[in-house]
């Protein structure tokens, strides 16, 4: 890397006085032109179709909302309406609540599996197979995955039938489906793999001799876990938490399909507002969602340098 950097700098000074292109002297400027040409399409695509629309969203959130249209007269009315409305503010709080719960469940359910895959399976092939087994559901249709929970959790669903057969319950439990519970279960199943992967990856990189040394020095299993294994797996936990957070915070399909539209998250607010052509209002909810996400990701990134870990 350093050698190529040296090469980059040298010819520049050689050709600085003359713009004449020679075989040897053109190396740097033509290399730079090639780099520019290579990054231009991707960069322009992202700027034009992602950054500009996001800025547009911020801008439109200050437009005036008419019944079925918006006008570019600046106002904070939509913002005031959002924060003074019980329903919308509650949606913000509910989004944060569901996010925290799903973060906790994906971590609690995912960590032991990651521990087993990353630390206990020594054979690389077996390790890959088990990891692939966990990832395969991710390749199936997102909506079908969500929908599959309906016959599982419903009043006449599989869970209730099994529990009744086992004699654990006399009456079917009704609160399993179309509640916050079903939303959390559905999201956990979909996103837990993003927690397992990074943690297992970090765990598999731990040098076994480190654990051996600790054991030779008389440390117990719990102590080894607490002082060596867990701290070394933390970057994986943070990366997993970032993945889960950005996906859960922007969710609306799971909550719409599994709560019978009773659990409204910020994403659901956006969808309903767009449905009734309240673009300015949807934009306000969008900006708030962006802000929440930016804060969450920024806080999580304080714990880990993403580019270093990848």
């Amino acid at each position: 890397m350093d050698a190529s950097r040296g090469n980059d700098v040298l010819p520049e000074s050689a050709t600085a006085e003359e713009g004449v292109k020679t075989e040897s002297g053109g190396g740097d400027s033509s290399a730079r032109r090639i780099t520019a040409m290579l990054i231009a399409p991707g960069t322009i695509w992202m700027l034009l179709f992602l950054v500009v629309p996001m800025l547009m969203m911020v801008y439109v959130s200050f437009w005036t909302q008419k019944t079925f249209s918006i006008e570019p007269t600046l106002t904070v009315k939509s913002w005031v309406a959002f924060f003074s409305s019980e329903t919308y503010f509650a949606a913000l709080l509910r989004t944060i609540k569901i996010w925290l719960i799903v973060l906790a469940t994906t971590f609690a359910l995912g960590y032991p599996t990651a521990l087993f895959i990353g630390l206990f399976i020594k054979n690389k092939t077996v390790q890959t197979i088990v990891l692939v087994l966990c990832v395969v559901p991710f390749w199936t249709s997102f909506l079908i995955r969500v929908l599959a929970w309906r016959p599982m959790l419903g009043k006449e669903g599989a869970v209730n039938i099994v529990l009744e057969k086992l004699g654990l319950i006399a009456e079917p439990i009704e609160v399993l489906l179309f509640t916050e519970f079903s939303v959390v279960v559905g999201m956990t199943q979909i996103y837990v793999v993003f927690m397992v992967g990074p943690i297992a990856f970090m765990l598999s990189r731990i040098d076994p001799s480190l654990i051996e040394a600790a054991r030779d020095l008389g440390a117990g299993t719990w102590r080894i876990f607490r002082t060596i294994i867990f701290p070394l797996s933390l970057p994986g936990v943070v990366v997993g938490a970032i993945f889960v957070s950005v996906m859960v915070l922007g969710e609306f399909a799971t909550s719409a399909a599994l709560s019978g539209r009773k659990v409204n998250l910020l994403g659901n607010i956006i969808v309903t507002q767009v449905g009734s052509l309240k673009w300015a209002f949807a934009a306000v909810a969008g900006v708030i969602l962006t802000a929440v996400m930016a804060i969450v990701v920024a806080v999580l990134l304080r714990f880990v340098d993403l580019r270093k870990e990848l």
Binding site: S4, G42, P137, A148, W149, P151
Partner: protein
């Protein structure tokens, strides 16, 4: 840690349960897709085993009060869109990652700008694009705004995959070819491409499957003609029937066959690479 037999088996048992948790809904969905029709509902018990709902999807059953799933044209649109997205994002990802092989000013900015595409929630991407399109008077369409949104999502995946591939291989191989007077185009075809082929294949797999299944970005960006996930989502709001379960089974099988093709191509390329390495050793 591995010499703790109890802990080991406890964790192995837990992992088995965990995988059960991941797969159970699919198993239940698969079973219920064989419900009797057209009276059988989307729940237990199975009144009678039948393939009625599979026939229903393909329009092979006599007309009943349950409308067939509106998936025919949506499927073609989704496949076309996934193909377009796959080609575009693999090309963009390879180009951008190729640029990252040398250091350049602003590389940090470009890196995060690209990665942003997979971080920003789909609903916001769709909303933003819809707002821009509306204001410019561009009508939204699956082959326009939705296509743009899909590439925003899959291009970062292709970029990261290609970045990992380029990081791994030695550029002196290419330099050797150049110094021997091989043209850059031929070098790319004969040297670079075989080396990066596994990455290209993975990028294509990511892009195709993510696009084919993409829902939140498409919702506001697709306009009047629906893609497959949008058509499926539309059926959620009305009463659901086992035909959607049968469709779930079929689409899952489709995803798995794409994975299988990917696996076969991948192992073929690995085997060829190994063979080449052995030949080099002999020589």
């Amino acid at each position: 840690m591995e010499n703790r037999p109890f802990l080991r088996s406890a964790l192995a048992f837990y992992t088995a349960l965990f995988i059960g948790f991941l797969y159970a809904p699919f198993v239940v969905l698969g079973i219920l897709s064989f419900q009797a029709g057209p009276e059988g509902g989307p729940q237990f018990p199975i009144t009678e085993w039948s393939t009625y709902w599979y026939e229903h999807i393909f329009g092979l059953t006599p007309p009943s009060r349950i409308a067939p799933l509106p998936i025919g044209e949506a499927m073609i649109r989704s496949l076309t869109l996934a193909f377009m997205t796959m080609v575009t994002s693999t090309v963009l990802g390879t180009m951008t990652a190729q640029a990252f092989r040398r250091r350049f000013k602003g590389s940090g900015f470009v890196f995060y700008l690209v990665v942003l595409g997979m971080i920003v929630p789909g609903v916001l991407v769709g909303l933003g694009l819809a707002l821009v399109a509306n204001n410019l008077g561009i009508s939204r369409a699956w082959w326009g705004t939705a296509y743009v949104a899909h590439v925003l999502y899959t291009f970062p995946f292709a970029f990261l995959v290609m970045l990992a591939i380029f990081n791994r291989f030695d550029r002196s191989v290419e330099e050797a070819a150049w110094s021997l007077g091989v043209t850059p185009m031929r070098t790319f075809r004969k040297v670079t491409f075989p080396l990066i082929f596994p990455g290209v294949l993975s990028s294509m797999l990511f892009a195709f499957t993510l696009s084919y299944d993409e829902f939140p970005r498409t919702l506001f960006a697709a306009g009047a003609d629906l893609t497959l996930p949008l058509a499926i989502y539309g059926t959620f709001s009305v009463e659901i029937h086992p035909n959607i379960f049968a469709f779930g089974v079929l689409t899952t099988l489709f995803s798995f066959s794409i994975l299988a093709v990917y696996g076969i191509l991948m192992s073929l390329s690995v085997r060829r690479a190994k063979k080449a390495a052995i030949q080099e050793d002999i020589q």
